[in-house]
Symmetry: C2
């Protein structure tokens, strides 16, 4: 081994979650998993590393540049996954599971983006997708899973903004935007909530060949009220066939979501464009109302053409993706997620070295009853051991000196109240379970 000291540091845009931050985070991931499985989605695990050609050309030129791409030790051109959607498409093309294929995946993805608040170069995505089902019921189910997750996580105020790529295509037709102009208009529309109408108009005038009249026709659509299904459906008159189809899909989707009682947090927003190239129909983004500046915490949509990049046939697909690390940043910022230093329900203090074996046996007994138990490995002053437990938020301390061990009793101290009781050793598991497992 070398003798030079290496500086201990993480790469910019990457972070460690120490236990105090990771305990609530893992708790969130468990609750998310429970909701996903509650909807009957099964887990999928795919490699972090894919052939580059599997990932390239799916996320737009911008996305391709953000890939962590390299030659592996065998000279293969590989890249770290950028999302969980393209690997899913690859899996479906490779393994051909029975349709509809419903899976969830909870795994990190990597993007070499400029780091900023709430944005990391490595972040955990939690995705559910349904592959092989074309009806809006699949879009609705993915939306509802997402909304059920935010509900389970007790996220305070949030809104899911929904649109349809076909409506955006209808807008392009309406203003006569083609080729590069089309992407410039999409980018402009996407920025509307951030830079406002004047900003977007200025940008479109300089960056596209559209004139003021064309841009006016764009805003006629964008400024139409779409607060309910009736208003939305009145948009139809403004569009050709593609735009009409988009309006029909979106209103069907809203009807399903409403019937299932989830419409309260859903609103139509014609400026939602989604950055990724592969969307073809429904698209949605979700914002925590008090922290919209963090960007969307959960988004997705329908991508009926993506499978066609791996197969010679078209396979419909739709999904949603929760960025749990960004959501966690938001909730921390709102003071709704607090550090938790320990997972232990009880701390077993060590009074004397002779007692170690018996305390280890006691720890085993408590664990078998389902309790989380940290056993002190060292004799220290009792006050210090109590303090160590208390500082780490472990409410109960169990201890037994030689007299207690001889009498087969233990002391249990409640660090919140300061109360201490002495009970039979055999009763400790029940005593603690009653107080820590609601």
């Amino acid at each position: 081994m070398g003798s030079k000291t290496v500086k201990a540091r993480t790469l910019k845009g990457f972070r460690d979650y120490l236990p105090a931050a990771d305990i609530p985070r893992q708790g969130m991931l468990r609750r998310i998993t429970k909701v996903f499985e509650g909807f009957g989605f099964g887990p999928l695990t795919t490699p972090a590393i894919e052939y580059s050609e599997v990932l390239l050309g799916k996320y737009g030129d911008e996305g391709d540049k953000l890939l962590y791409r390299f030659d592996d030790n065998g000279g293969r051109d590989v890249a770290l996954r950028y999302d969980l959607t393209v690997p899913l498409a690859r899996v479906v093309a490779q393994h051909r599971p029975t349709a509809p294929f419903r899976r969830y995946q909870i795994a990190p993805v990597w993007r070499a983006e400029r780091p900023q608040r709430g944005r990391f170069r490595e972040f955990m995505q939690c995705d559910v997708d349904i592959v092989g089902e074309a009806s809006m019921r699949a879009d609705a189910e993915c939306m509802m899973v997402g909304l059920a997750v935010l509900q389970a996580l007790e996220v305070p105020g949030y809104v899911m903004r929904v649109n349809n790529r076909k409506i955006l295509d209808g807008m392009m037709e309406r203003v006569g935007a083609t080729g590069d102009d089309k992407f410039a208009v999409l980018r402009g529309v996407d920025k509307l909530p951030k830079i406002g109408k004047d900003g977007v108009v200025a940008e479109l005038l300089t960056e596209t060949s559209l004139d003021e009249a064309a841009i006016g026709r764009l805003f006629e659509v964008l400024e139409r009220p779409v607060g309910n299904i009736d208003e939305l459906e009145q948009l139809t008159e403004m569009f050709g066939d593609t735009g009409k189809a988009g309006v029909a899909e979106l209103s069907e989707l809203l009807r399903i979501v409403e019937a299932a009682g989830y419409s309260g947090q859903v609103e139509v927003d014609l400026s939602i464009a989604r950055g990724l190239d592969y969307y073809t129909g429904t698209i949605y983004e979700t914002f925590v109302l008090e922290r919209e500046g963090y960007g969307s915490v959960m988004s997705g949509g329908r991508y009926d053409d993506l499978l066609g990049m791996f197969l010679k046939e078209s396979v419909p697909a739709v999904g949603i993706s929760l960025g749990v690390d960004r959501l966690l940043s938001v909730l921390e910022d709102l003071g709704l997620v607090k550090p938790q230093e320990s997972v232990a329900d009880v701390y077993i203090a060590l009074v004397d070295d002779e007692g170690f074996g018996e305390m280890a046996a006691m720890a085993r007994q408590l664990r078998e009853a389902g309790l989380n138990v940290e056993q002190s490995l060292k004799v220290r002053k009792l006050g210090k051991q109590f303090k160590a437990a208390h500082n780490r938020g472990i409410r109960y301390v169990l201890l037994a000196g030689s007299d207690e061990r001889a009498a087969q009793t233990v002391s249990l101290k409640d660090m919140d109240t300061g109360d201490q009781v002495s009970i039979a050793a055999g009763e400790a598991a029940a005593w603690l379970t009653e107080r820590t497992r609601p």
Copy 2:
């Protein structure tokens, strides 16, 4: 988007876990997490990518070559983590958490090794470590966590083979091996179970400067019975100070483990050497008896010098690592882990399109009672829907035609027995919970 079809494939040494394989695997990971937290270990999450200098020089020359190392988009020399131990050492040096620092981490690691049965280039490691505690009680606790995990996973016959690097150092002193000879002897000893005494002797004669007399002195130690603590302690006479210290540590460790009732699956094996460079004391490897050929499924040890590579002080540390993907391969091979196609407890069939909304509301009600529910998104012949549920191992199917919906009743079919009952819709959650949640 491009129009060329890309071949859907995974890299050699990497694999997808589709739901049928991933459902039991995720179940294993949850049980492992429960045991880790049962011992009071909290979670830690670290980045997949580290500065290369953080990882280099920790795993020996062989290990360095197996790193997935590349220049990132900003030209930084980075590498994917090779294990979870070195990132832990980096974390402790960087964040200086209060000692003893007890953490678990469950995360994939990457090694560009030649793939073989049960060995992958990406595999999930499940580690617990205690940093900042020098006593053998910490070594014992890590061993016991590991043994408790195998017990919780109902792994059939297994043995944890324990040794101490200081005993190996004592052997080196005894045979006069220094420099490169030392590593050659370690490698030879490590191969003893595979190639036998004759093979090792032949290898050492060609690859080292040791003569037959020296090699004989090595085998005098290796062939001594060490089946109990007394026999182990009698080894002391064969060693100088370092070897003596190793024997003392190992016998102390065994006494603790025995007192806690875990000694049945533990044996001393002086040929255990562990491939990684950083171990300094206790080392252990664990084998499933009926499938030893897969190699160790759980291993670890004490690495008191590793932290010194990041800090100017020495910090004691010990840990254990379970290779859950290899263990899963072993259990699959033994027929003890079977594919499970779905996580759903109940499948809600769709009788007619008009019923979709009411069935969605029923699904929501069942989910709120904690059940995992897959709702059919499509009207198909009932026989087909029953078959779809049955093929995927979902035992119960719930359905309601228009008459039943009018009467607020549902039918519940048990796909195992073929029995079908009609009950009040409001009773369905209780009926199903009783049958699916033991």
